[in-house]
């Protein structure tokens, strides 16, 4: 694709500036089931998105057919789209800025025979762990590679590559008529040095500890939310920190800049370039450099995340958080490498101090059970009773309901168990004063 030809043609159509975003994604996925390779998926997709600005109005189009013969059609369609926009939000594309590229270690790719052997061994180890484990439901190994390129008529020309290997496994265990399942996923740098025993132990202990689970009584009780469960809750509520929601007045954090929104024990950071994280984004999907931001400082809201459009609408600068959900979706605002700063105590120490209550290890239904405007949530949970300061019997089929601002304001202690991984949002376990539990 000849970018200059596109830029010239776009200028002729009246575009003040024009951007071409390309994402090449390649994937190999191996699925193993009951002793054999169940499926193998391979893909090669080059997605292209265009953004153009006319009269300070921004339009998007994406196409998987971008031969130069499509150019006139795409440009005239984009020009027509610009005429539809009546919003007074003014837009512009990113000018070239200095970007610091961090050293990234690329994961290796492996031969299909090595991957088959790895999956076979994983399944065998899971089934051999305990006789109550009767099935390895999903067992997948995936290698994904991406190459991201953004060029625009203002002179921006940036490119980066990323890659990740992932293993996903679920195990099912049975005791009498009761069946429980649990799954784990982990990034795999090298299948030969990957700590498979630890992965299998976490998975198997996860499912076995759920057997014999009971439903707790309803009531308001102190809770510790395990790091993985809290990560999922914070990730689901993360739009409240984003300029798009704040600009539209539909974030519970609207108008609360520099005020105390959470407990002073809560500090939140967003840093897409963070070297300790699994993945780094030196620039966002608009080509703006990314940086470390203190989002919440000891409970006080300090930063709202922005892309260029939301920043301009709120008279500020982009924070380098303009990201796309996929290559074809418009640039939105979202966090990348977003975390709650860890405290001093292990989860065991938090339980010992809490004495009695509930340890929530999983939320379900996060796509539906929360209200982004009010911050209210009501979610299916599973976890464990905490008795005499120790993890006791498993708990299932109960709900936890509350409000995210109230919850994060009632923090007793923040755990030390922050662990970076596949999710770019991470939190440690946190002990909260109280949450409404509905069970028996």
């Amino acid at each position: 694709m000849d970018k200059n030809r596109w830029f010239e043609a776009a200028a002729k159509e009246g575009f003040e500036s024009f951007e071409i975003y390309r994402l090449l994604s390649e994937e190999r996925k191996f699925t193993w089931f009951e002793g054999t390779l169940d499926s193998y998926v391979t893909s090669h997709v080059l997605g292209t998105s265009f953004r153009g600005v006319i009269d300070e109005k921004l339009v998007n189009a994406s196409s998987e057919d971008t031969g130069d013969e499509q150019m006139d059609d795409i440009l005239s369609s984009m020009k027509a789209q610009a005429a539809m926009i009546t919003s007074d939000v003014r837009a512009s594309l990113a000018k070239p800025q200095e970007i610091t590229f961090a050293e990234k270690k690329k994961p290796a790719s492996f031969h299909p025979d090595e991957i088959r052997a790895f999956l076979k061994k994983t399944e065998e180890k899971i089934l051999a762990y305990d006789e109550r484990i009767f099935q390895v439901g999903d067992l997948e190994y995936e290698e994904g590679r991406e190459r991201r390129t953004i060029v625009n008529s203002l002179g921006l020309d940036v490119c980066d590559t990323s890659g990740v290997n992932v293993i996903v496994a679920s195990a099912a265990a049975k005791q009498g008529e009761e069946i429980r399942t649990h799954y784990e996923f982990e990034a795999v740098e090298d299948i030969h040095t990957f700590d498979l025993d630890e992965f299998v132990r976490t998975l198997c202990e996860g499912v076995l500890s759920r057997l014999g689970a009971d439903t707790p009584a309803s009531g308001n009780v102190p809770v510790i939310i395990d790091r993985k469960a809290l990560t999922s809750l914070v990730r689901a509520f993360s739009p409240m920190f984003c300029g798009e929601s704040v600009r539209k007045g539909i974030s519970p954090l609207c108008g609360k800049m520099d005020t105390k929104v959470f407990s002073e024990l809560i500090t939140v950071i967003d840093d897409p370039s963070c070297l300790e994280a699994l993945q780094q984004w030196p620039f966002d999907d608009e080509g703006c450099p990314t940086k470390r931001k203190l989002v919440v400082d000891h409970g006080v809201l300090k930063t709202i995340l922005h892309n260029t459009a939301s920043a301009r609408a709120m008279n500020t600068e982009s924070t380098g958080n303009g990201f796309r959900g996929s290559y074809s979706s418009p640039v939105d605002v979202s966090p990348r490498n977003f975390w709650i700063e860890p405290g001093e105590k292990t989860q065991e120490e938090l339980m010992a101090e809490m004495g009695s209550g509930i340890l929530i290890t999983e939320f379900a239904g996060l796509h539906a059970g929360l209200d982004h405007v009010s911050g209210d949530f009501s979610l299916q949970c599973s976890g464990f009773a905490v008795k005499d300061g120790k993890k006791a019997e498993g708990l299932t089929l109960f709900t936890a309901a509350g409000n995210i601002l109230t919850l994060l304001s009632g923090v007793k202690a923040v755990g030390s168990d922050l662990k970076r991984g596949l999710s770019s949002t991470v939190t440690p376990s946190v002990w909260f004063e109280s949450l409404a539990i509905s069970g028996k």
């Binding site: 926009i85 209210d376 409404a436």
Partner: protein, 462 residues
Amino acid sequence: MLEKKELEKYLSLCMKSEADFAEIYEEDQISEDIAMLNEQVEKVSRTITRGAGIRLYKGLSSVYAYSNETDEESLTALINDLRGAIGEKQEGRDVVLTRVNYENRHPVKVQFDDVSQDERVKLLVRVCQGAKSVDERIVKVQSGLLNVRQEVQISNSDGRLISDTRVRTRIRANAYAREEGRMQSGFYGPGAGMGLEFYETEIPEEIGKAAAETALVNLRAVDCPSGKMPVVIDNGFGGVIFHEACGHALEATSVSRNQSVFAGKLGKKIASSCVSAVDDGTIPNAWGSQNIDDEGNFQQRRQLIKDGVLTSYMIDTLGGRRMGMASTSSSRRESYQYEPTSRMTNTFITEGTSTFEELFEGIEKGLYAKKMGGGSVNPQTGEFNFSVQEGWLIENGKITVPVKGAALIGSGEEILMNIEKVCSNLKRAEGMCGSVSGSIPTDVGQPAILVSSITVGGTSNG
């Protein structure tokens, strides 16, 4: 789309392997999404999706490759990669294709790009005006108009060559109500497998009003009670209970691997006798309908449960091989980027005999779930959840005060048995269903039902 001769060449190459079946799925889709805040158009996005997915089976194993580069060199490379993975052979049978023609059950009158941009935008302006006309406390309205036209062509080594064009449209409306610093929202998002003629009967102003009314009710909602209680779930999107509590667990995706609570239960009673349910992909112009499934088989109406007895699963070809059963034409996928598997279409509990009033009789304290949100399920344990968007308290058989949204949770096996009464006011509603083969349009539906006991996840433990 590829020509018949090219497809025959590629499929014949696929069969020079240990594969016993090969399939090529081609897709060419255009979609447009217009997003509006109040009466201002904020975003317009057009997306063209064009690519192909190639699948080979060998017994119970499958290999799949997809790309949006469909030139001869790219496709040949993909096929050779798959042949290598499944086992290459120098010899194989030549595939000869025969095109299958049929009558389109889902005709479209007004293609979205046949009307002017101004007219498309005006639909959303009307949504906003409808919402704001309800009450001055409606301070914000976000709306969107999605239009999709997907063309698919499916060919396979059995010699079948068949095409389908799927058109669908949907308006989504979010209304925000504010009073004394408190803000609440309401959502309504009807759609259909139709063109813009849909909005001749589904009036945009009414879509806005419906969203606004839910937001206003939620403004005065009090804390929801918690614990187990009887729940009346209203018709339409209330059917999400069946979709989660039962539907997913009847898909071959989980049944064929013995990962469903309903595996091995054909002919057995799995629900209360007042429950019958179907999955019907043939309803003309419904949101979840198609002429053919994504393996090129004609869509069907499947009677899943009859008077409480399990009568059918939803099965795709590969799942059927595992189960020793025929496909029920239930294979679906979001796009060429997904290998298809068994999925729902328009899935609903059919009409019962109770009146709406009878559902409330004798309930001392319970919940009336008037509007539902989404949910999820673990098919292997049957544990599911779904959220209430607009709920009301039932006290002494009467609907009294609105309560805040809450999750309803339970186990599928138990809940189906706890459906005590089914009303006669069947209604379907549109949603998006996410699973291993992506996000696809499906209808849920039911008449209003009474569930004798279900866990309500409220905040009030008083």
